[in-house]
């Protein structure tokens, strides 16, 4: 490969020999087309006309007054399909088209990335198959149906823990024998090189717009930027525009689940170094190196790994990562719903919960929270928790 895909010591490409040529081909195409005028114009066109970019940077006045900080929300929740995921699926989908690939495969946990991929498959008329743990298929029937309505085929995965990590395993297993014709569209800044670099590239648009807007509105940079971290793509998307400005605090909210002593998905806060799904990063694992199951109320943060660049930013102390529990996330959800009339995705609710905690200790600061997705998909779960019958 041309680049080594390392962030400090993290990252790399720990994959079976059979996948190396596929990754080399992908890296080459990515490096070429990211500089290509026609490619970039087409991507910008779709981001604008199809996905709904640019998204607003919304000053939440009620919540600001309530929490004693000046709080802005980057409204990725307003994008088509309801989350930032579409920035990446458009980018990679278009890349697959330029590479002449005839089929897309993807993994999905709850279904957000699956839906964003299915929709792009339909837009670009590329047949799409989505691997999904059979447990998740059961829990997220509605999203399975939504993918199918967009013409994608959902393949239930019934080995291992039957969740996201097993869906990723099976997508890789598919790709080993299909890479000639198939692009594997990974949904976050994880996996082997070039994925972490490439997915970040396609999500950087969040940070670019945010920086421009905040400078326009405030005449200065924010004191803190907060985002939730699953694999880490929405966080890196927004962090990337501020990482060189040392005075801006970068804060990642991990799925704290039921607390670090119980079940959780806080990979950086409580995991250890390891190699999962092609890169060296932090993972949740037992003492013998077997991968553990993650838990978070939000399916998007329910993953025992994390993108290698986050491991690097954490080890350098440039970004800080904190667990936000299910309970704190639900409080964040309610805060934003009640004070601003915005229903955040449960993933994004972790960032809101984090903002509340941050504001308590840092009155008067200016904060940008990345609202990575909308909460329509999660109202069922909330109703159940609040013991409301729908």
């Amino acid at each position: 490969m041309i680049l080594d895909g390392k962030f400090g010591k993290y990252g790399g490409a720990f994959v079976p020999e059979l996948l190396i040529p596929a990754l080399e081909e992908l890296e080459k195409a990515f490096l070429k087309y990211r500089e290509d005028k026609k490619f970039n114009e087409e991507l910008e066109y779709y981001l604008r006309e199809f996905a709904g970019r640019p998204t607003p940077l919304y000053h939440a006045e009620n919540l600001s007054e309530k929490l004693g900080c000046k709080i802005y929300f980057k409204r990725e929740d307003l994008l088509h399909t309801g989350a930032h995921k579409i920035n990446n699926t458009l980018g990679q989908g278009l890349l697959a088209k330029y590479m002449g690939k005839l089929r897309l495969i993807a993994e999905t946990g709850a279904g957000q990335h699956g839906i964003a991929t299915a929709v792009i498959g339909s837009l670009l008329q590329i047949p799409t198959e989505v691997y999904m743990g059979s447990e998740d298929v059961e829990r997220q029937k509605l999203n399975v149906f939504r993918m199918e309505l967009s013409g994608a085929k959902v393949i239930p995965v019934s080995n291992g823990s039957r969740t996201l990590k097993d869906a990723i395993n099976d997508a890789f297993r598919d790709w080993v024998s299909s890479a000639d014709t198939t692009h594997y569209l990974i949904g976050s800044t994880m996996g082997p090189h070039p994925y972490p670099t490439m997915v970040k590239h396609f999500q950087k648009v969040i940070g670019r717009e945010t920086r421009e807007d905040i400078l326009k509105k405030e005449g200065k940079l924010p004191d803190a930027v907060i985002a939730c971290v699953g694999g880490g793509s929405n966080a890196l998307g927004i962090f990337s525009a501020f990482v060189d400005d040392e005075e801006v605090e970068l804060i990642g909210a991990e799925g704290g689940g039921e607390g670090l002593k119980a079940k959780h998905g806080a990979t950086i806060s409580a995991g250890t170094e390891g190699v999962l799904h092609g890169s060296l990063s932090f993972v949740l694992q037992d003492d013998h190196g077997q991968i553990a199951e993650a838990h978070s109320i939000s399916a998007g943060l329910d993953y025992p790994g994390v993108g290698p660049e986050h491991a690097f930013l954490s080890s350098e102390g440039r970004a800080k990562y904190y667990p936000v529990t299910n309970e704190e996330a639900i409080r964040g959800f309610k805060l934003l719903s009640q004070y601003e009339g915005i229903l955040p995705a449960l993933e994004s609710s972790h960032a809101v919960g984090m903002a509340e905690k941050y504001a308590k200790e840092n009155k008067g600061k200016t904060i940008v929270v990345n609202l990575s997705g909308r909460g329509d998909k999660d109202v069922d779960i909330l109703a159940k928790l609040m013991e409301v019958k729908l």
């Binding site: 490409a13 079976p16 040529p21 395993n169 890789f172 297993r173 799904h277 013998h288 077997q290």
Partner: protein
């Protein structure tokens, strides 16, 4: 006990005008004691070298059969530590080469150096991590050299000649040739492309080459050996016998023994 090197083993087999028969099983599948008996059966029924898997929760290079074997072994309490104890026990009854086949996280988690040291102390000849390509193998190679353990890499149809030469510079013991562009699992047919691959690789390789993935029948074994391969590695077809006979271990062992004899019986070079 003096441990036989891969070089000696392949020479021993070659002197008889044969290819090597190399069966694979996952250490601790379905439990430690039965697994040990399975390996003993391998040795008594013609194995020229052994491949022992250390089970991992997320084996991306493996199909359903090996995944199931990994799960059984992990459920029975297998760990890397016990894997090394397993090899030590295997060394009580055989001196033929033993290769450990695993995934890199298990090595990384234990500590790379410690893993290789334990491999050496307990009698393993070589290590192959299915998700460790040469680009990422500097630390592993360093420890391998330090403790005198051989590092095995894979090559496949997708591997260019140039890349093959790079891999061969680092690989020792034997080169593991992946017969199919896919994951592990028993297959009905041996493809022509596999034969072409073996012929291409034999032109480049000064070390022995052994072919695995999908080798499941007598004619597969004899065809890869007569195409020039120095050895045939058989995994899923054996693990299927384990899966199908979990309720009758005596019968399981008998069937595995018979299957091994059949496969070893067709390793003669008849070109």
């Amino acid at each position: 006990m003096r441990i036989e090197t891969y070089e000696d083993a392949f020479n021993r087999v070659k002197a008889r005008n044969e290819g090597a028969f190399i069966p694979f099983t996952v250490a601790g599948d379905p439990d430690f004691e039965t697994s040990l008996k399975i390996v003993k059966i391998f040795v008594e029924n013609g194995a020229d070298a052994l491949e022992i898997g250390f089970p991992f929760s997320d084996p991306v290079a493996d199909g359903p059969t090996v995944q199931l074997a990994n799960t059984r072994a992990l459920d029975a309490g297998m760990t890397v530590e016990k894997g090394f104890q397993f090899i030590k026990k295997v060394r009580e009854f055989t001196d033929i080469p033993v290769g450990v086949l695993t995934y890199y996280n298990l090595i990384y988690k234990m500590g790379i150096d410690e893993f290789y040291e334990k491999a050496k102390l307990n009698g393993a000849n070589a290590i192959l991590a299915a998700d460790l390509p040469p680009e990422e193998a500097n630390d592993a190679l360093h420890s391998a050299k330090r403790y005198g353990v051989q590092q095995i890499f894979m090559a496949a149809q997708s591997t260019s000649n140039q890349r093959l030469d790079e891999i061969l510079k680092l690989c020792s013991g034997f080169l593991y040739v992946v017969a199919v562009m896919g994951i592990t699992g028993a297959r009905n047919e041996l493809k022509d492309s596999t034969i072409e691959l073996i012929e291409r690789i034999k032109c480049h390789s000064k070390i022995p080459v052994a072919v695995g993935f999908g080798i499941s029948k007598q004619d597969h074994v004899s065809n890869v050996i007569n195409a020039g391969a120095d050895g045939a590695i058989v995994a899923s077809a054996i693990l299927n016998i384990i899966t199908e006979n979990l309720h009758n271990k005596e019968e399981m062992l008998q069937k595995i023994g018979k299957f091994c004899r059949e496969l070893k019986g067709v390793t003669k070079v008849i070109r």
